[in-house]
Structures are given as structure tokens and as C-alpha cells.
């Protein structure tokens, strides 16, 4: 039997979650370890954090990582220039350094009086040393600010979700401290459920046709970027808005621009796959196949 404090997270109405992923989330909450999520773009890695925050009714803090992000920025920034500027006029007391210490996203999450969800998005975008610089902070959930001789310690360990696109290798020492889950690309049944969450009023025939064409497109290996969930949803929305008839969906793939975002993929589809579809269409009109 499960303990009572396990199974905290049961999913949220706007996010379809698989059983293993749900368990991984709960393990990470119970053990207080960060959850590292990997998977193809568009499989809902970032959405998961939003869903956890929503499902558990906690606040979400998002730290978006860029190639220039430094680990220190997540903890705190000492705004020396502001202090220097203030010192010229006598109206503020600059001896109190504390007011020039600005907590970063990680710092805010630690200092918060209530438990919250911390999303560190796309950690692999940063420098290769970045995860190592955060090892201790994520492990102990505490850090020291020498300027004001103060230690920030997490009152409640935040529920940390880290996403990665596997652009860079993450260091082993970092990986050892995480719970890991790889989000697989959803199969057609799960995908149907996902689309229905986003577009509850969609007609069954339209959805079936669209999914069939979508998975056929994904079978083409030569695309630089295969269409993913978010593109599918955009596409279906466009199909509904455009009032496209059902039989055109599979025969000519209308509004392909919403599915294929790279020019090379688009060209490839138009010349190669487009031709095939064309000839099939000709056949459908009863013309001789050549």
C-alpha cells in the first residue's frame, strides 16, 4: 500500500499524464530531489511544471535558461551600481546592503514561506559547467550570501522540475542527484486524448483524419524537425477555422505551413511527398495512373 504522503500529485484537468510520469513526479516530491525531464520538443516538458503547480495549487516560479545565464544569477545579484548611485544623495541609507541584494529565481523559491514549484527550463542551453555550479545548492537547497553574512535556506524544499533537450551532456554528478524521466512521443490513442483536452468540441471524424495524416507525416525520416504535439494542435485549429472538408485533409494536407516549420522540410515535402499525393489524387478522379 502507498503511504499517505505519496500520490500527492494526481494530474490536472488540462494535462494528460502517463502513469509512470505521474509516479516519477510523486517520487521526486517525496524524496525532495529535482525531477529531470527529457523528450522531443513539443511533448509537454514545460507544461508538466505548470500542471504540477495547477494540480497541487502551488505557485510556480520559472527560471528560463539562456546561453549566457550564470548559476550565480539564479541565487542572488548584488546591485552595486544602484548602491553607488544612491550614495551620492543623502536620502537613502546605503549602509544597509540588504536592500541591494536581489534574490534570483532559485533564491526566491528557497526564501518563499510556502512550498512552490520551481521550473528550470532548458538547462542544457547554458554553459557546460552550469549544472555543476548548482550541485550543492540543489542538493542542500541552501546557499550563503557573504555580503550580508546570511544563509538562505529553503523553508519548504521546492518541487524542482528541470527540462532538457539533450543539446549538451549533463555532468554525471548532476545526474546522480536527479530523478529522470524521458517523455516518449505519445501514441495515437494518447494523442487523441491530448487533443481533446485542448479542443474539447472537436468532431470525431476530423480528429481521426487529422491524426492519420499527422502520424503518416511523422514517419518521414528526412524531415529536419518532425511535427510535434503543439504543431498538431495548431494545425487542427487552423483546419477548423478554415472550414476544410474532411476528404481534403488526407489527400492534399492543407495548411501544411503550420506543421512544417523549416523551409527545407517544406520544400522537401512539396517536391517529394507532394508529388505522390498529387498522383494519388489524379487516380481518385479516375484518370489513368502513369
Amino acid at each position: 500500500m502507498h503511504n499517505d504522503d505519496f500520490d500527492q500529485f494526481k494530474g490536472s484537468p488540462d494535462y494528460v499524464i502517463s502513469e509512470p510520469l505521474k509516479n516519477a513526479v510523486n517520487v521526486s516530491i517525496v524524496l525532495g530531489k529535482p525531477l529531470l525531464i527529457r523528450g522531443e520538443p513539443g511533448t509537454g516538458k514545460t507544461q508538466l511544471a505548470h500542471s504540477i503547480a495547477h494540480g497541487l495549487e502551488k505557485k510556480l516560479i520559472t527560471w528560463n535558461i539562456k546561453s549566457t545565464t550564470k548559476a550565480q544569477e539564479g541565487l542572488y545579484v548584488y546591485d552595486t551600481v544602484q548602491r553607488l548611485n544612491d550614495s551620492r544623495f543623502g536620502d537613502t541609507d546605503v549602509s544597509d546592503i540588504k536592500q541591494y541584494i536581489k534574490l534570483g529565481k532559485l533564491g526566491q523559491a528557497f526564501a518563499s514561506p510556502e512550498q512552490l514549484v520551481l521550473l528550470i527550463d532548458e538547462i542544457d542551453k547554458a554553459d557546460i559547467e552550469f549544472p555543476n555550479d548548482l550541485l550543492n545548492e540543489l542538493d542542500e537547497m541552501t546557499f550563503y550570501i557573504p555580503e550580508i553574512d546570511e544563509t538562505i535556506k529553503a523553508i519548504h524544499r521546492p518541487i524542482a522540475v528541470i527540462t532538457s533537450n539533450a543539446e549538451k551532456e549533463l555532468p554525471d554528478a548532476f545526474l546522480r542527484r536527479c530523478i529522470f524521466h524521458y517523455i516518449e512521443f505519445p501514441n495515437p490513442e494518447l494523442m487523441e486524448e491530448i487533443v481533446r483536452v485542448h479542443l474539447p468540441n472537436i468532431g470525431g471524424n476530423l480528429l481521426r483524419e487529422a491524426l492519420k495524416t499527422f502520424y503518416k507525416l511523422r514517419e518521414i525520416d528526412d524531415f529536419r524537425k518532425k511535427p510535434s504535439t503543439s504543431e498538431l494542435i495548431d494545425w487542427i485549429q487552423a483546419l477548423i477555422a478554415g472550414g476544410i472538408s474532411l476528404d481534403r485533409i488526407s489527400s492534399e494536407v492543407p495548411l501544411i505551413g503550420t506543421l512544417l516549420k523549416k523551409e527545407t522540410d517544406y520544400d522537401y515535402f512539396m517536391t517529394r511527398a507532394g508529388n505522390k499525393l498529387q498522383s494519388r489524387k489524379a487516380n481518385a478522379y479516375g484518370m489513368p495512373y502513369r
Binding site: H2, D5, F6, P20, R88, E169, P171, I179, F180
Partner: protein, 389 residues
Amino acid sequence: MFTKFFCTLREKKVPVSITEWMMLMEALSRGCISNLDEFYYLARAILVKSEAYYDHYDVAFQEYFRGIETPAEISEQILEWLKDPLNQMTLTEEERALLDSMDFDELLREFEKRLKEQTEQHDGGGYWIGRGGTSPFGHSGYHPAGIRIGGESKGRHAIQVAQERRFRNYRSDLTLDVRQIKMVLREIRQLSRIGPEDELDLEETINATSKNAGEIELIWRQSRRNAVKVLLLMDVGGSMAPFALLCSQFFSAAHSSAHFKDFQYFYFHNCVYDDLYQDIERREAVSTEHLLRILEPEYKVILVGDARMATQELTMRYGAIDYYESNDTPGIAWLKRTADHFTHCVWLNPDTLYSWDHPTVFMIGKLFPMFELTLDGLRQAVKKLIVKK
């Protein structure tokens, strides 16, 4: 609890550490699971940190919990046997001449036939697929027109290298030591101030502020960025097959190092001739002459290859091993032009140092400073790339 499962995982090459194992034990003691299915996912989430190992994990899990022996696919098994090279059987010239050379299609058909017939490991002998021996199939053996399966190309007679597909994965991410290589490659840098003025110049700010009688005057300057451009030329010829893994790790590291200002890469077979290639299959050609014209001399050039070939491939006109190459200029002249054009070049040789005693390795070593493709060799090469000539 389950300690043997830990051993099984290690056995199946899943990189599990004690830290992670203790984490799993803690999770178990807190009652995180209620059945075996949940244990499967729980243990996987905690112990396995890359989807690349999910398959290994599955194999280990099955073996431990059901006690089922898991037979691999027969073809994989055959490759497995052939992995460790046995001592070569020495044949006299006469004996070798006795073996008839079959033509290639015949060889392939025969291979498939014997693959179906063969059910156990087989070394030596003259018929079955195995190590050593004189059958035309397998490796380390001597048959003038044999198909080589796995192993190292020792006889260098093989018509086709069965494991060639391993090169296909040059671009995929490898986890082994890519990180270490990357750390070394980071040393290749030349910081110069480029881009927008977004960095506070503290010293100048203090100066300007003092001159301004205490009124703060902020001075900004451009931040320092890496200005290094790198050109990578890789040998993907047949004799490079044994080093495929190493080379792909190196490529993976170089390709994903984001800190170069520009990174170009091309492939060649054995030696640089009139054309270089953009793909491993060597279909998209670019004229070497053109490249030497458009790439500035400050590109740091890294050549990777075993530099080992027949002497005529290096020194003769039309000496290239590939017939369609039909090079007007001998390979050595192209290498010389490359070395002259670029100010910083190094040659990385994946072969071990003691096998460098070969005329072409020697000749190429005179043109380019040559280093072993090991971490140490790489460090020395990088040093060579950043100092002035």
C-alpha cells in the same frame, strides 16, 4: 534488498552509482510503491539517467525478476563473438593463392546461407563464420576477397566493411567521454572584444567619475567573445573503421561545442585530393581549391586520420584509392597546400603511437604536427593550435 539487481544492472552496463541506489532504498522505505509495475518505473526514474540506457535496463529487469535468459538476435551474437580479435593465422602465400576469390554478390549470398546454417560460435577452420581461419566470412582471417564482420581490419583485404553503418551516427549525441573532449576543446579560444557594448568597464568608470568630480559616469565596453574559427577534416576511409567510435565521439564533442565563432567540417578518404566531401557517404563534393580560397588562413585546422595508406596514394598523380577520384595533383601536394594556407594546423591520429612507423605517416607527420587522439594528445594539439607559429 535487491542487491543482486544492482549487480545485474552494472553487468548490463547501466551506469548506476551507490548514491542512486541509496536513493532508491530510501524511496522504497517510504512506501512509494505497491506493486512490481510501480517498482519498475520507480527504479528506472531513479537509477537510469538517459533514455539511451532504457533498453539495457529492460534487459536487466527481465533477467532479474523473471529469471528469463534473454537471447540476443543471432546477427548481434555473431558480431559479439567477433569482437575480440584472435591471433591471426599465418598462411603462406601459396596457401592463400589456393583459395579462390569469389565475386561479391556470390559472397553475400553465401554469407546469408551460412548465417542461417550456423548455430554456434566458431573460430578457426575453413567454412563457418568466425574468427581467424580461412573462411571468407568473419574477421582476422585470410581470404583474398572476404567479407569482414566486425573486428579490426588486419588483413586489409576486405571488400566491404560490414560495420560501416557505425559511421552514420557521427552526428548523434554520445555520452561516453564526449564531455571530457569538450572540456579540452574549450581551451581553443582567442578572446576579442566584439559585439554590443554591454560590459561595465570598472576602471574607466572610476577614472571618468573622478574626473567628473564624483558625478557618476558609466563607461561600457564590448564583452570578450571567442573569435576562433575551426575547420575539421576527417578521414572516413576503410582503415578508419576500428576507430569509428572514438572519431564519432570526437566529432560529437567538436560539433556541439557552441563556443567557436565558426565551425566547418569535411570528410575525405585516406588523403585530401581535389575534392572534399560534406557527407560521410562522400556524395556532396566541394572543391578543395575553392575551400582554400574562401576560408581565411586564421581558421584552426584539425585533421583526423590514421595517415596510413599505400605510398602511391599519397605521392602519385591518379593515386587515389577510389577510382572515380582521378586526382590530377598528388595527395601530398594538396596536404602541403593546406598546411601552407592555414597558419595553425594539427593532425590527430587515432592509431596508437607504436603503429606510426609507416612511410606515409612519417611523410604526413613532417607536414603537420601529429598527435595521438587521446586526451593527452588532444591537450598538446590544442596548445599547438593556440600559440603563434
